[in-house]
């Protein structure tokens, strides 16, 4: 283990001054000579078939240059599910707001006027916006092919009238499902329980709402597409754009130096990028597509809502003996989403139930497309189960932290469905108990317990704690770095720069291993023409884990080459040499040997593996192409992460919240919030704080107010802008929040660091919901968000009044 000179230290990221002076260029900040603007024609209906499009009047308008329809796209075939994959423009819109056509004109106003002159003849088709309604015997199917995913294929799935008697009683029926797994004997587990809670709840769908919409600008040059867009991975957007546009990946250059947030909605890039790309090809001019906030609501992706029923059994000591979980997931209109499946896995990891049965069904709806949103499935199941655990613990008179402690995963904790050998998978490590202990101290849990459920006048206090795990890293990616004759170390980064700083942070691992001062390091990012290596998407909390491993592998390769080169030139064996102080030198003589600058020059002279002319066999083809282009510039470290790993990497956050509710108005304030992370070795504290608090607040937004609402009769959304489904503002969160990390290295990765983007979300969400249960009692709500009207109506009626089986209200 090298001395920690960079890892764990704060520093100023090299992109920050550009950001704070307004010089940082996001997609809409680029201009190209002769650039056109395009506007989109969106479907006015939730489901329809295009019978006829007449663009002649629009094309006759002065300033209009071209029109693009679905017919201009490369043909696609249905995938294994039986559905045709989503394309940026369509002849069968499957949600209100889906783009049908685009017009390019010399200015945006002309393009917008031209849209008004398009004659569009649509045949209305049946639609469904609420999964439960689609499961009724007479309910409409969202797609002509069916209404649900059964065995990975789209099929028609209906529950019986008998099943729906349960719905009338406010309980989700255990009707026919699609996915099912179990661990242990659930019935026996319930027999061991001293208390059993059975609840039906609904978790809302929400848009990702990155502050930068998916605006994109494209032009072609010598048969090559240059696309300026907003993405969570520069390296990986090449292949997806190539597929959408119908060209070879070698013909695509992606430029995305700065991305204004993604939260899962830009993995990698966006389907809509194909629109300016193909319009530019068709018109022969650059095309800018500015996406408005309202358009972003439609095409900007969303989290899958869930209608769920959970039965949970708890023993007198707080141990969860049985969990029976059934989830109906609002899948949106396109590809099968993994949220529900993740919910099952995360529930089993977070609370380690002694026995568990999981069932789910993904139902298609005519609402905007879903995709993973920060802690997909994890956040939802946290909201489903945390209040139930809180109620069970209260019935048994147990401390809420003690209950999380006794059920917390530890070490190589098992989780998820059993595999073919009948055994569950397991995680690399978990230090949740340590995080809970630290949180109790930092939050002052014991002192606050006296305020639990306290009433003063119209104000009720409540405190809550929640445990939230999520996947924290992948493996097997590549690194390229070069020490050049100028004595500096250059890193190529294919990671998206969406604000986590990991684009830069991960390379500090390599600088530290090579003993290179950070001031002499350059990170090259944001442009695939600058020869970037194969890397993970900045999604699913992968990057810090995956790319510190790759950086480590690359640095070890560079170090070995420095040692071999020194032995070649100066005699002795490679192992006689060490690197430090910007030199490769004999051990014990730090001032001898070669400077890095000299070694770089020698590497170029020697060629072969030293300067990248010979490359490892196992690197990704993208890395190989990039390394080949960089060969001869200096001593190259290039390698694939082949480090072993035993278990699946997950990270964990525990959240603590205190709320004060006005029982006369239902309004409440989150007074305090503290979060503690178990994400292995801390790489960059400032950045980690941003992830922990930022993720927690995204979760709080789901607790306090964000949601979609639909006109169920016409299938039209009513919440399309920030103020209809408002993210938390600075006044909605505590004025000062605390955080810490247990900072225990993960034993299954060389740097010890795991990712952290997802886990805080469920911690913030669950802690606030639990604090509300603590303040208001067991029966105040069965749906999220918990808005003041939900609270005040429940307090008035003495029981929850907003039922749990209607989506999008």
């Amino acid at each position: 283990m090298p001395e920690r000179t960079l890892v764990g230290q704060n520093y100023t990221t090299p992109d920050l001054v550009a950001k704070v002076t307004g010089k940082a260029k996001y997609a809409e900040d680029y201009r190209a000579e002769g650039m056109l603007f395009c506007k989109l024609l969106l479907s006015p209906m939730p489901h329809a078939r295009v019978r006829r499009i007449d663009s002649s009047k629009a094309l006759a308008m002065k300033g209009v240059v071209g029109v693009l329809t679905a017919d201009d796209f490369p043909p696609v075939k249905p995938d294994q599910s039986g559905l045709k994959p989503e394309q940026a423009l369509t002849n069968e819109p499957v949600y209100q707001g889906e783009p049908i056509l685009a017009v390019a004109a010399v200015d945006e106003v002309t393009a917008a006027d031209a849209i008004e002159l398009i004659e569009l003849d649509l045949e209305p088709l049946p639609f469904a916006v609420d999964p439960i309604e689609s499961l009724r015997p007479e309910g409409a199917n969202a797609r002509l092919e069916g209404n649900a995913y059964v065995d990975r294929k789209v099929a028609t799935l209906k529950w019986t009238a008998e099943d729906f008697r349960e719905v009338a009683a406010g309980r989700l029926p255990f009707g026919k499902g699609a996915d099912e797994w179990k661990v242990g004997d659930v019935d026996a587990g319930f027999k061991q329980a001293d208390v059993v809670i059975d609840e039906t709840v609904v978790i809302q769908s929400t848009g990702h709402q990155p502050l930068e919409t998916r605006t994109a600008m494209a032009y072609w040059q010598n048969g090559k597409l240059y696309l300026h867009g907003s993405t969570q991975s520069v390296a990986r957007t090449v292949a997806s754009v190539a597929g959408w546009v119908g060209v070879e990946p070698s013909k695509v250059v992606i430029v995305s130096e700065y991305t204004g947030g993604g939260f899962g909605s830009k993995i990698p890039g966006a389907h809509s990028m194909a629109i300016p790309a193909l319009l530019s090809k068709k018109t022969g001019r650059p095309v800018m597509m500015r996406i408005s906030r309202e358009e972003e609501h439609f095409i900007g992706r969303a989290r899958a809502g869930m209608q769920a029923r959970a039965r949970l059994g708890m023993r007198k000591d707080g141990r969860i003996t049985a969990l029976d979980l059934y989830i109906v997931m609002d899948n949106g209109p396109y590809s099968a989403q993994g949220d529900a499946r993740s919910s099952g896995s995360i529930a089993s990891l977070a609370y380690q139930p002694m026995t568990m049965r999981f069932r789910s069904v993904a139902v298609l709806t005519n609402t905007p497309p879903r995709t993973s949103q920060r802690s997909p499935g994890g956040m939802q199941v946290n909201a489903i189960l945390e209040p139930i655990i809180t109620k069970a613990a209260r019935k048994l008179g147990l401390d809420q932290v003690a209950v999380r402690h006794i059920n917390a995963p530890a070490g190589k904790a098992p989780y998820g469905p059993p595999g073919q050998n009948g055994k569950q998978r397991y995680v690399t490590s978990a230090f949740v108990k340590e995080a809970l202990d630290r949180g109790v101290e930092l939050f002052g849990w014991d002192a606050r317990k006296g305020r639990s459920g306290q009433r003063r006048g119209s104000k009720a206090r409540g405190i809550g704690v929640a445990v939230s795990p999520y996947v924290g890293g992948s493996i097997g990616f590549d690194a390229i770095m070069t020490i050049r004759p100028d004595g500096r170390l250059y890193f190529q980064s294919g990671i998206g720069n969406l604000g986590t700083h990991s684009t830069i942070d991960v390379h500090r691992v390599a600088a530290e291993l090579l003993g290179m001062p950070w001031e002499k390091c350059e990170v090259i990012w944001g442009d695939t023409s600058k020869h970037v290596p194969w890397s993970c998407s900045s999604a699913g909390s992968q990057t810090v884990h995956a790319m510190t491993r790759a950086a480590h592998a690359g640095a070890m390769d560079a170090k070995r080459k420095l040692q071999e080169l020194a032995a070649h030139d100066l005699g002795g064996k490679p192992d006689d040499y060490d690197v430090s102080n910007e030199r490769v030198h004999r051990k014990g003589n730090a001032s001898g040997g070669l400077t890095f600058a000299q070694a770089a020059k020698r590497a170029i002279e020697l060629g072969g593996k030293y300067d990248g002319h010979e490359l490892p066999k196992d690197i990704n083809p993208m890395t190989k192409t990039s390394a080949t282009a960089l060969a001869g510039l200096g001593l190259m470290g290039v390698a694939k992460d082949n480090y072993p790993r035993d278990g699946d990497t997950h990270s964990y956050v525990v959240g603590f919240a205190e709320v004060e509710v006005d029982v006369e108005t239902g309004a409440y304030q989150i007074l305090d919030y503290t979060a503690v992370a178990d994400c292995g070795t801390v790489l960059h504290p400032h950045s980690l704080a941003g992830q922990i608090h930022g993720g927690s607040v995204l979760g709080m937004g789901h607790a306090i107010g964000q949601r979609w609402t639909y006109d169920q009769h016409y299938g039209r959304p009513l919440a399309k802008r920030f103020h209809h489904t408002k993210p938390p503002t600075i006044l909605d969160v505590p004025v000062a929040m605390k955080w810490d990390a247990v900072n225990i290295p993960d034993p299954e990765t060389p740097v010890g660091a795991r990712g952290i983007g997802e886990p805080p979300v469920g911690a913030g969400y669950g802690a606030v919901l639990n604090a509300l249960v603590d303040a208001l009692g067991d029966d105040a709500f069965r749906r999220t968000p918990v808005t003041p009207d939900v609270i005040v109506a429940a307090l008035d009626a003495g029981k929850w009044t907003h039922e749990a089986l209607t989506a999008h209200v």
Partner: protein, 215 residues
């Protein structure tokens, strides 16, 4: 950027010539700064005359301490003029409807959402954008320096708006408490949502601003 790359970044037009001299030259030539009108019909591309009853189109704006002559349509917002005619793309559009504050600029020292201000209404007033805060030698404004020192933002799309809102608020209350400052900048949304660190940075900004005004 490759040599044959046709992309022109917004500040490239001024490379090798100081902005002041460039503007002077343009004014001397009697031309407007803007030669293209990307978003508004009626620009020179189409050669349309201005509509009858339209307000005067060629106006002079005071932006970041400079007099800028610009061709403006009557319905044009300040955000559009800044971004598409004056090359000041640091002002961001997050919603275009006064919901998010990403487009905040100072008008006579008061923070405004430039997406919801007509350019014509700021004639004769002093407009300052994120590009106008640092000194000509590149020294950062105290608020910018505080953001750098505290690594106060993440994706930073909201950052220019927050910085301008803070600069404006501190002019009215140089010594705010943490809750006061939160109120002062609550018209701005951040979706990465670490408001805690934003407030840390802006409290530091208040301190730096006080220190620099004493100096």
């Amino acid at each position: 950027m490759a040599e044959n790359d046709p992309v022109v970044t917004a500040d490239e037009g001024q490379r090798g010539v100081s902005r002041r001299n460039f503007i002077k030259g343009v004014i001397a030539a009697g031309a407007a700064v803007s030669t293209t009108s990307y978003l508004f019909r009626g620009g020179s591309i189409l050669g349309q005359p201005s509509l009858p009853g339209a307000v005067e189109r060629l106006v002079t704006l005071n932006v970041n301490g400079q007099q800028r002559r610009v061709d403006v349509m009557k319905q044009e917002t300040l955000a559009m003029t800044l971004r598409y005619k004056l090359g000041l793309t640091g002002t961001k559009l997050g919603c275009d409807r006064s919901e998010c504050g990403a487009c905040t600029v100072l008008i006579d020292d008061v923070p405004h959402y430039s997406c919801s201000i007509l350019t014509h209404s700021v004639r004769g007033r002093k407009v300052v954008t994120i590009e106008g805060l640092a000194s000509p030698t590149g020294q950062l404004h105290p608020v910018q320096q505080a953001v750098v020192d505290a690594q106060g933002f993440q994706c930073a799309f909201c950052m220019p708006g927050f910085v301008m809102a803070t600069v404006g608020y501190l002019k009215t209350n140089p010594n705010p408490t943490r809750p006061e400052l939160a109120h002062g900048i609550s018209g701005n949304l951040c979706r990465c949502q670490d408001y805690n660190k934003i407030l840390d940075a802006m409290m530091l900004a208040a301190e730096y601003t006080r220190r620099s005004s004493r100096a």
